[in-house]
């Protein structure tokens, strides 16, 4: 292959490599066919360059472009939005690859690569994504350096090194901009309002749903407590309240609204800060029962759950204060009472019969509750991660047939039994427990801590939490899922607790993620104002931001200029060259300069021709210089001689 073709292939390979690296974070999110098309186009294009194949003509490329656009529309039912837009961007880069001929086309690929990097941040801002994207940005910049080279002669470049040095020089500027560039309070145009499919609790629940989550070790949120850590039996994180029941699935009452009754509190308050990972949903999680929270983040609905105005699509941090002992909703409005007594007509008949019988033999509602819990505890009910599927009348099937269930099954059956006996009851879904991270001093609540329990309403007492799972598997509540009977099943799911060392390592990694969330992802106007307050600006306005930005950028600019000045400072010539330069400099003042490409000896001869009086001195200086420069073993006296001769040389 000719050197030009080789160079062309190298440029194309750099640009394509950068593009594929930028696509990697999207590979799992995109439809498989999109990934296949892009990877196939990249491979084909590189092969075509190697083999010298012809690129497809414009008509074929146009047809491919039309086909992939239609494909995106069919797969995503839109060509805008984050998902559709990213897919389209990735596919257009593939189409662009098919017509990539020159440096300009390759530059377009690199720019698309940078946009794909931005898109991957719109999906996730965690440490892992950043750790992949930063080198990718670097690789793309290095590719631009390779693509933008004019001549292939010259000094061979180390694109990665050169670009890395430039990024490092620019880092202070970037840091100052990041720290002090004012953040928007709102947004220019509408944020995507669609709820995204993220792992976590959803707006409705069938009994088996939560056991799927239990196998998921992903962090749901992290909590820093102002005071001591509350005991495990108080770590109930309320997320959603399900009042509607269709016989199998529980869901939120989202149509009707009821008056909110202020709860009364006793005992001490617990203050804490939650850093919530994106849920794509509008729920927030707080310890039962939350009293106040960062204003504006959410409103408390009549069922005491917190609702945000928009789906939480990025990391959200909020402060909250809760009271573990409370009385809520002591007066129950008739319509709310009806809602929490509703059972679908004609469903689960055996459950209804069991409830009637048990209630008749119990002295009071409280007695009845105890009787039902005793039933769960003493009869053959099993707490298991892999419960069998349930029939249409799910509660009947569970209570009288399978008897194996997870928290959702027990909560569902318990609530149905309560309602059948005329006790208002509902299901609360959220998280229970959490892992204490001793490294960072905070509680990690994972998806595997997802839990469902019941709330019953008792006259004079209001809503009262009853966790039927605690009756079957009390260790689940006290010591977490791994300690429970279902814990052994976790081993099969690959979630067995590791050795002490790995546990520590995992905690360190989680701590890094938490710090990352605090200092990078959630760095906002409030943090900026805090920073500015350290610099002496209180209640900073635009003027303060402008001042700090200008001064900071000025300082970063000075650092950059000093760095460059140091790097580009002239090299000090060695003694031999310096002496010879003095000689040519003196001649230059008399109008005699070496021509371009003229060797020293030829120059000396020309000097002799132009100025015979200088001939001998010029030749002896030149010979001494050549001896010192190229001679096999120049003597030390030669340098003295050269210097003396040059010093005496006065044209």
């Amino acid at each position: 292959m000719s050197p030009e073709r080789d160079a062309g292939f190298r440029r194309l390979a750099w640009a394509t490599g950068g593009l594929v690296a930028a696509l990697v974070p999207h590979l799992l999110r995109l439809e498989p066919w999109v990934c296949a098309v892009v990877l196939a186009a990249s491979a084909w294009r590189l092969l075509a360059e190697r083999r010298g194949w012809r690129l497809p003509p414009p008509l074929v490329r146009g047809m491919i472009a039309g086909a992939v656009t239609a494909g995106v529309y069919l797969s995503y039912s839109t060509i805008t939005g984050l998902d559709g837009g990213t897919a389209l961007l990735a596919l257009m880069s593939a189409v662009k690859l098919l017509e990539t001929r020159n440096a300009r086309d390759q530059t377009v690929l690199i720019f698309i690569g940078w946009f794909l990097c931005l898109a991957s941040f719109l999906y996730a801002q965690d440490v892992r994504t950043a750790a992949w994207v930063l080198p990718t940005v670097w690789l793309l910049a290095a590719a631009l350096l390779v693509v933008a080279r004019r001549g292939e002669d010259g000094t061979p470049l180390r694109p990665f090194r050169t670009t890395g040095a430039m990024l490092l020089k620019g880092a202070p500027i970037a840091v100052i901009l990041f720290a002090f560039f004012p953040r928007l309070a709102g947004s220019f145009w509408g944020l995507p309002s669609g709820e995204r499919a993220l792992t976590g609790l959803t707006e409705e629940m069938s009994p088996g749903d939560i056991s799927d989550l239990t196998l998921n070790d992903v962090v749901a949120f992290r909590v820093r407590f102002d005071g001591p850590l509350p005991p495990p039996r108080e770590r109930y994180w309320r997320g959603l309240v399900f009042s509607e029941f269709d016989g199998k699935t529980w869901s939120r009452e989202s149509v009707r609204s009821f008056p909110w009754k202020k709860p009364t509190h006793s005992a001490a308050a617990v203050g804490y800060t939650v850093t919530l990972e994106p849920t794509g949903q509008r729920m927030l999680f707080a310890l039962d029962l939350v009293d106040h929270w960062t204003p504006g983040v959410a409103v408390q609905s009549w069922d005491y759950s917190l609702r945000t105005p928009r789906p939480v699509n990025s990391v959200l941090r909020y402060d909250a204060t809760s009271y573990p002992r409370y009385n809520a909703g002591e007066q129950l409005a008739p319509d709310l009472r009806d809602l929490n007594l509703e059972l679908p007509f004609g469903r689960n008949p055996r459950t209804a019969a069991l409830a009637k019988g048990l209630r008749a033999s119990s002295a009071s509602d409280a007695d009845y509750i105890r009787a039902v819990l005793r039933l769960f505890r003493e009869q053959e009910f099993y707490y298991t991660l892999s419960p069998p599927g349930l029939e249409r009348d799910s509660v009947d099937d569970f209570l009288f047939n399978t008897r194996r269930g997870f928290c959702g099954h027990f909560a569902s059956a318990f609530t149905a039994l309560m309602r059948a006996a005329g006790i208002p009851a509902r299901i609360v879904a959220g998280y229970q427990g959490g892992d204490w991270n001793s490294v960072g001093g905070y509680l990690i609540v994972r998806q595997s801590h997802a839990h469902a329990w019941s709330e019953v309403w008792l006259p004079g007492r209001g809503w009262w939490r009853v966790d039927p799972t605690a009756a079957v598997a009390p260790e689940r509540i006290e010591r977490g899922i791994a300690a429970s009977a279902a814990g052994s099943e976790l081993a099969e799911g690959g979630l067995l607790r590791d050795s002490e060392f790995f546990w520590q390592a995992r905690m360190l990694w989680d701590n890094l993620n938490a710090e990352w969330n605090d200092w990078v992802v959630r760095f906002d106007r409030a943090n900026q104002e805090e920073l500015l307050a350290h610099l002496g600006f209180h209640n900073p306005g635009w003027a303060a931001f402008a001042t700090v930005l200008v001064v900071g950028l000025g300082l970063a600019g000075v650092v950059l200029l000093l760095w460059l000045a140091l790097e580009y400072r002239p090299r000090r010539p060695d003694a031999v060259t310096a002496a010879y330069r003095k000689f040519t400099g003196r001649l230059a003042r008399r109008g005699i300069e070496p021509a371009v490409g003229e060797a020293p000896r030829a120059f000396a001869k020309r000097v002799r021709y132009l100025r015979p009086d200088l001939g001998v001195a010029s030749l002896s200086i030149t010979e001494a210089y050549l001896r010192l420069r190229y001679g096999p073993a120049p003597a030390a006296t030669d340098l003295d001689f050269l210097r003396r001769e040059v010093a005496r040389f006065r044209p």
């Binding site: 931005l118 994207v133 940005v137 631009l144 933008a148 004019r150 010259g154 000094t155």
Partner: protein
């Protein structure tokens, strides 16, 4: 001359402007979505652009450029001006471009502490003299986002010889036995050694002397005594002055190639017959510079 800071100009290229537009779009998107990592990415690339601008400027700064006179070409050939660029610094300077007088761009890179030369091929059309008035040394390194340039005014000259006529009649004063015989007789009598100059015929190089003295010398021969033509403008056929000068140029070139001793007579200039390269240069230069003194010549 040294390329000094104040004399170097810089502007973004089309690519640089596109890069700016891309950064602006990324900034808007990141701000809108409140995406801190997107902002960080935008700022990092923005900072890279700033560094690239300074690096581009620095890529030219303190280079030492030197232009030398070009060897005279014949009209229609390119005049090859050589511009040497020395890099006194510690960082290699990559992808320098030089352009002048409609010469196609020449590229070069200079290693740290090294020197490279551009060869500017300035096309010529007619005889006379051309001056390299304005040379632009530019660079887009790195990334091609910016273009920095500096303008040199080297004022180096180059004489352009008239183009030797393609089908010229033989000179009237040439001996009847022209052609191969004359060449052979021209090599008969060894007249001495002289310094080698580009353009001397390689078969005349005295290789034995080179082996002894490490100096390229050329053997000179004296031609036949009778073959000492003096070419006169009045003898050259042709409808206009330029054609006749072309014919004279052909005669001079041929006579030199055959090792003859020849002279040139122009109105107002008389060059006595002599052999050798210096004579060829002298005669062709006289032809290049010649200006018609009186209307009756034209």
């Amino acid at each position: 001359m040294t390329l000094q800071r104040g004399r170097i100009y810089i502007l973004p290229t089309g690519l640089g402007l596109a890069f700016g537009v891309m950064l602006f779009a990324m900034l808007l998107g990141s701000l809108n979505y409140g995406n801190n990592l997107g902002l960080a990415l935008t700022f990092l690339l923005g900072a890279l652009g700033v560094v690239a601008m300074h690096a581009c400027h620095r890529n030219l700064e303190s280079l030492v450029a030197r232009a030398s006179d070009a060897d005279p070409p014949f009209a229609g050939q390119d005049a090859l001006f050589r511009i040497a660029v020395a890099n006194p610094g510690r960082v290699p300077r990559c992808d320098l471009e030089a352009a002048a007088n409609g010469a196609p761009e020449a590229t070069a890179s200079v290693a740290a502490g090294g020197e490279s030369a551009f060869t500017l091929r300035v096309p010529t059309r007619r005889r006379g003299s051309i001056v390299l008035e304005r040379v632009e040394i530019a660079t887009r390194f790195p990334y091609g986002l910016f273009r920095a340039w500096a303008v040199l005014h080297p004022a180096t000259h180059c004489l352009v010889y008239p183009q030797p006529a393609r089908d010229a009649p033989p000179p009237p004063l040439a001996p009847g036995a022209a052609g191969g015989g004359a060449v052979r007789s021209g090599e008969d009598d060894f007249a001495g050694l002289k310094d080698y100059h580009p353009g001397d015929q390689p078969r005349h190089i005295a290789w034995k002397a080179y082996a002894r003295a490490d100096e390229l010398l050329v053997k000179e021969f004296s031609g036949e005594a009778e073959a000492m033509p003096v070419f006169d403008l009045d003898d050259a056929p042709g409808s206009d002055l330029e054609t006749r000068l072309s014919v004279l140029a052909r005669w001079v070139v041929d006579a030199h190639a055959r090792g003859l001793t020849f002279g040139l007579r122009l109105p107002g200039e008389d060059i006595a017959p002599e052999p050798g390269d210096a004579q060829r240069r002298r005669c062709l230069a006289a032809l290049a510079r010649f200006e018609a003194p009186a209307p009756d010549v034209a």
